[in-house]
Assembly symmetry: C2
Homo-oligomer: 281 residues x 2
């Protein structure tokens, strides 16, 4: 049941079938691990530095250190992409606390460092042309500033996404929205873009898009209520593998007119321009 | 860096060094896994049926099914204990969602099922004679009724336990206490025992002790505030590997007189009686 191809494990690129994670790995026994995910554009890792920086930052929040330089990781990713022969891929970096004989203690100086690739999956085009739906779920991620491997709530609800065709979950708690399960979340009202400023993961594409958008739109950073969200003109999510996706429905509630609005359309254009430019660079 | 000895993996007992968890296991990539932990008394698994029942219940909350009968698991545990040659051991059962090619989808009919053993570690005797300390941490476990592998908050704070000598963390949120990170938590006031009735893991030893205690003491089930906890006469934790441990200090706050109280002393006696009886059975 192993995927074909190669993976990077603790410094070496090896056949996946020989890549053995110990049953005593604290990433398995206690979910003590962080990861990051990036995509390629024309085979080139997009926003590589931003992802490696976030990966290090997530690791630090767990008291772990990424055991490789950016140059080493860049070289490993390129070699892995070549060996796996993907046209386009998503690249997943995973760092765990490593071996734990008692399921409690581990030596942070000997982490498990894994890089794997997945073939790129195409997002349905209608998400972008007609807008997509989120399902609201009461939840706040533990240690939200770290991209930990803990996705219990998302995976438990994943069948609901498959059933409804919704693109992701929208996490909210105590009346405030935070982020989608696998994406950043933003709200547009009266031409302003509202962005949560704490209790969320730093989004690499979201940050890029907001920076570009700030030349045309006012960006308001701070907590966002669910009430504010449902009364928004437009809402959208951003993620590394999906770019900007317009959200026109949260559960059964239509946002604004229920169609892709002008601000999000502009942001999708800005995002696509950069990604196309990067692809031809 | 593998532990010596043998593990049980998907139906077979194999040398640990040959036990390979796939880098594509959703238990590793997404922390999608549950476990249970029991101890042996004179080499015999204590409260085996209760632990297997809880393991199945945790699995069901994640949409997973334990792929073995109780008899098969019992036989596998006994064989594993024999091969690993432990005098006494803790036995850990782990069930993940299995292989996930995209880090998102997996087939719940092909889970990863692992059983490993750890040599029993002795609890310092002074925890029982003088009482122990908990460190309060604002946290509520995700899906608390399931014993999932997610222990991010506990492991991030583990160095504080090592530094202070505290036995565990006490989780609290919105003014209410729930449980210790790796144990159930109870409060004693005016001769009554207070037990949280929801939002906590079902404790196997805790349930047994409360049942025995109910012949002498009134048991009050319901939410417990932190205020109530700090004003308690006595507090204690229960766990499979530690039995009843008196808690005489939470952070720097002494509980009652700061010494082991009469009710908890009685409960420790009741618990020890059962465990001795079980040992000589």
């Amino acid at each position: 049941m192993q995927s074909n191809g190669f993976v990077y494990l603790n410094g070496d690129i090896i056949p996946t079938k020989h890549a053995a994670i110990s049953p005593f790995d604290v990433g398995l026994l206690r979910g003590y691990a962080v990861f990051d995910l990036l995509q390629t554009i024309n085979g080139v890792p997009f926003q590589l530095d931003e992802h490696l920086e976030r990966f290090r930052s997530s690791a630090a929040l767990l008291g772990l250190e990424v055991p490789a330089t950016n140059e080493e990781m860049h070289a490993a990713i390129l070699e892995l992409l070549k060996r796996n022969g993907h046209d386009e891929a998503t690249v997943r970096l995973v760092l765990t606390g490593g071996h734990s004989p008692d399921g409690m203690h581990f030596d942070p100086s000997t982490p498990t460092f894994l890089i794997i690739t997945h073939p790129m999956f195409a997002m349905p085009e209608h998400y972008y042309t007609e807008g997509a739906q989120l399902l609201a779920v009461e939840h706040r991620r533990e240690l939200p500033e770290a991209k930990s491997t803990n996705y219990l709530t998302w995976l438990r609800n994943h069948h609901r996404l498959d059933e409804t065709g919704a693109v992701d979950l929208l996490y909210h708690a105590n009346g405030y929205v935070s982020e989608a399960a696998t994406a950043s979340f933003y709200v547009v009202k009266d031409g302003r873009i509202y962005a949560p400023d704490s209790g969320v993961l730093h989004g690499t594409v979201g940050t890029m898009v907001l920076e570009l958008a700030s030349e045309q739109f006012e960006i308001v950073r701070g907590p966002i209520t669910m009430e504010q969200t449902l009364a928004a003109d437009e809402t959208f999510i951003t993620s590394s593998v999906r770019g900007v996706v317009p959200i026109v429905r949260i559960d059964d509630h239509l946002i604004g007119s229920g169609t892709v609005g002008p601000v999000v359309r502009t942001l999708m254009g800005l995002c696509n321009e950069v990604m196309r430019a990067d692809a031809s660079a």
